[in-house]
Symmetry: C2
Subunit: 202 residues, 2 copies
DNA sequence: CTCCTTACTTACCTGCAAGTAAGTGGAGCG
DNA sequence: CGCTCCACTTACTTGCAGGTAAGTAAGGAG
């Protein structure tokens, strides 16, 4: 058995899939090892503990989010918002949800350093919402009462809830909810599709 | 040790607390037993398996929800809606979330019959939203675009997300989000407080 | 007073999880 | 050609989970 060179990256990818589909407690090193064709103990060579692995997964996800935000910087605020709603749809269609959505539910049952990582991810996503919503409102592309901070917090909750509840009734439920959220914000009915391709990009 | 007569009810109550605070996988029969001062195996006398226990917890919660809906039947639709938002706050202040919020996240990691129970709870809560929203709009106490079904689905997602994310930043985060949701719906700023007392009632 | 039922306890089993320690085969370098 | 390091495997430990089977103390019914 000749050793591979990309095992660490593969572990991360597989762990991410499990984390976004089933949550922290519902996957084991054995699951990852089996999918990779190696032994469970080999995971420990790359990641000492499970919290360490999961933290790395969340950090990688956060970096991907940052790259996506950078990639859509040139778009209008409304397109950025609807674009992110579409990214969420992409995940849900694949049976996944954002780690933020998944792990907030488990937070009293996962290690503190993982929770801290989730908190960091939430802050990034929230900042994106607040910024985009504020900008969209000033150019008249969106309307809402209260502060962008309050509205951003609400939109974040809606998306988290939509991702989780969609898994009870299928991806269409997510689309209906986020379309309704778009309508409530006065966003255009036509959603920007470009940003989803920017997501998958490495 | 003289046997108690209310052990079954106590198990349900303690299990409910753990389920709403930590989720399905993060509590064990041993936790419940220790809190009750009995041995873990004794739980099996009252509930054969963990899925059976959790199903019973959710059913009891659903019945409580039904009683609450019946208790607030005489209130205006707007008061019923803000009243339920307040019930959610009551839970969050106690470190809890609705089992619906908790278990939707875990649904790929829990037994199918438990998921079915969650689905049933979701249907009840959704029906309450849809009904109240439709009525509130017809009397001019709320305004939103689209169908009451779509709006109800969205409000359900917002509340689920608010309950979960509130645990990252404290109960105030929940209040801010749901106040913003109330504002978006055009509900009165003053929220009905009566319904929370109707919740705790047996 | 005895029997039966209720509500447990004690003792145990199985399975799986994370994690550890020591050993190993091949690739590359000197 | 031999050494060394990387990327594992093998074999193991610990711990806890849900679940089972048999035994038992207390209380009520007859």
């Amino acid at each position: 058995m000749t050793p591979r060179t990309d095992t660490r990256a593969r572990i991360l990818a597989i762990a991410e899939g499990h984390l976004m589909r089933r949550g922290y407690h519902a996957f084991s090193f054995a699951d990852i090892a089996q999918e990779l064709g190696i032994k469970p103990a080999a995971i420990h060579y790359h990641f000492a503990t499970k919290p360490e692995l999961v933290c790395a997964v969340i950090q990688a996800y956060a970096r991907r989010f940052d790259r996506w935000v950078a990639a859509v910087e040139g778009l209008s605020a409304a397109d950025r918002l609807t674009g992110y709603f579409e990214v969420g749809r992409l995940l849900v269609s694949d049976g996944r949800v954002c780690p933020l959505s998944m792990l907030t539910a488990e937070q009293d049952a996962i290690p503190a350093d993982v929770v801290e990582e989730v908190r960091g991810l939430h802050a990034r996503i929230l900042a994106f919402y607040v910024d985009s919503l504020a900008q969209a409102r000033t150019v008249g592309a969106a309307s809402f009462g209260g502060s962008p901070e309050d509205e951003g917090g609400m939109v974040a909750c809606t998306l988290v809830g939509a991702q989780l509840l969609a898994r009870l009734h299928g991806p269409d439920a997510y689309v209906r909810v986020m379309r309704q959220q778009g309508r409530a914000l006065g966003l255009p009915e036509q959603w920007s599709a470009f940003p989803t391709s920017a997501w998958s990009a490495r």
